[in-house]
Amino acid sequence: MSKPRVAIFDFACCEGCQLQIVNLEEEIIDLIGVVDVVEWREAMSEQSHEYDIAIIEGSITRPEDEHRLQIIRSRAKVLIALGACAAIGGVNKMKNNFDFNEVKRCVYGKDAEMPHLATTTTRAVHEVVPVDFTIPGCPINGEEFARVVRELLLGKTPTIPDYPVCVECKAKENVCRYEYGEICLGPIIRAGCGAPCPTAGWRCFGCRGFVDNPNVDAAKEVMEKYKLTVDDLKQKMVLFNSK
């Protein structure tokens, strides 16, 4: 079996997801033992136009990025959206809640009209080209990434959990944030991360996106039970799950 050729590309993002690949530490040696990494700008100088698997990090925010993504898609047999930005648009999508001209003025003042600052609606990768697999999270969970890669190489269809974060949070024996009167998005957000945030005493802020069928109505009613407001809930949902 010849090793599959893998290329990693980044768009608008913080590159934290690529970092999680580096953070596989010793396992990265195993990884390069089973795949041929032919392009990975952040870690190596080689570049290539021939690859079987393209891994896309980041969301699409400019017309030129859309074009570049389409070229990558046309070359890749399998395209993986890596991380929240690629999977659901990530924090970048919060921009879509504002008027773009106003956004630009806010950040760039009088220089806002410079042509390169052109920005369009932030989109997730699947909103631009077809995506074969999605590894969510901000950042991704390295273990999950490693598992998905191995499953792909074996010809399995990698699965990402479709149950809420609470499953993993409970498994870690955390006391639920709601018991402290705090909001947590865990009940409606897709698991797979291992619930690091509630485990560290912080709320789940939804970086992996909603489960397929979130019970948002329940979430609203439950807020009232805990004397929290639906507005509080929406505030938190907007961080990673803006439209």
Partner: protein, 279 residues
């Protein structure tokens, strides 16, 4: 390591190896294969039972036995629907699979002796039924009339065509076939399998009726059978559920109080009629 258990009891999750001795695609998605256990032994099973088939590293799934215990080896038919089944489809003759079993309940092979039998098969539902049909044909004198109703979604999906053609030739059984969607090469019945039921209306009340097919089929077939006054105790259904162990532990296949892997997959319909989640 705990010796108390491992010495006297075998590991219920440990498959034994079997070799693929024949394989052939029955249509675009269904693969037939013949397996021989590497131990050289023959598996002792009864029509209706299933085995857990696994490909180490990919996964495990329950698969009905399609052969009869009157023949050598095991015959399985596997539909390409997901990870494991896709991987199995790629295997060639000589490749190994893991097998555990047989598990589950059986068709009423003894009870049915001397009785008239009707088999209602929808699509891949023919696969487990074939085990019993062939068993009956191999012990033809023990059973009464045999009627097989076959329904398939479309012409190209039909299974075991040569074998069915041979059945059709036989004088000692009646086979009727229909396909859901008309096709140029097909001059037989068109319509869902329930459309065949009125044609044998007279025989039905005195027959044992075996039903197997996709989840949606049961409701309609059972309604037609009720209209034809078939007692619920004479109907046997073969159900599919998600399964992770095959031995009554994992909880996935449970329908109300029944475990499909232990109490099923073959149920007498009268035992299920009051079980809301069954059909």
């Amino acid at each position: 390591m705990c010796e108390c258990c491992t010495q006297e009891k075998k590991d219920i999750y440990l498959p034994e190896l079997a070799t693929i001795t024949k394989r052939r695609m029955l249509n675009g998605t269904e693969l037939y294969m013949h397996l021989q256990l590497d131990s050289g032994l023959e598996m002792e099973y009864t029509p209706g039972q299933f085995v857990e088939v696994s490909l180490a590293g990919i996964g495990e799934a329950p698969i009905s036995i399609s052969s009869t215990p009157t023949q050598k080896g095991l015959e399985l038919v596997i539909r390409n629907v997901g990870t494991l089944t896709r991987a199995i489809h790629k295997l060639d003759v000589g490749a190994k699979l893991g097998i555990r079993g047989p598990y589950g309940s059986t068709y009423p092979v003894e009870q049915a002796k001397g009785k008239d039998l009707v088999f209602v098969c929808g699509g891949i539902g023919l696969v487990p039924q074939r085990s019993f049909i062939r068993y009956v044909l191999d012990n033809r004198a023990d059973y009464g009339k045999v009627t097989v109703l076959l329904g398939t979604k479309c012409y190209d999906m039909r299974l075991f065509r040569e074998e069915i053609a041979m059945w059709m030739e036989r004088k000692d059984m009646c086979v009727m076939e229909t396909i859901d969607e008309a096709h140029d090469c097909w001059d037989g019945n068109v319509g869902v399998v329930t459309t065949l039921i009125p044609k044998i209306e007279n025989e039905l009340p005195n027959s044992l009726v075996m039903v197997c097919g996709p989840p949606v089929m049961y409701k309609f077939v059972l309604m037609s059978l009720a209209e034809a006054d078939v007692p619920q105790g004479n109907i046997f259904v073969n159900l599919e559920r998600r399964m992770k162990c095959g031995v009554g532990k994992c909880g996935h296949c449970q329908i109300n109080q029944h475990y499909v892997c232990q109490d099923g997959p073959v149920f007498r319909y009268s035992d299920l009629a009051d079980v809301p989640e069954a059909i």
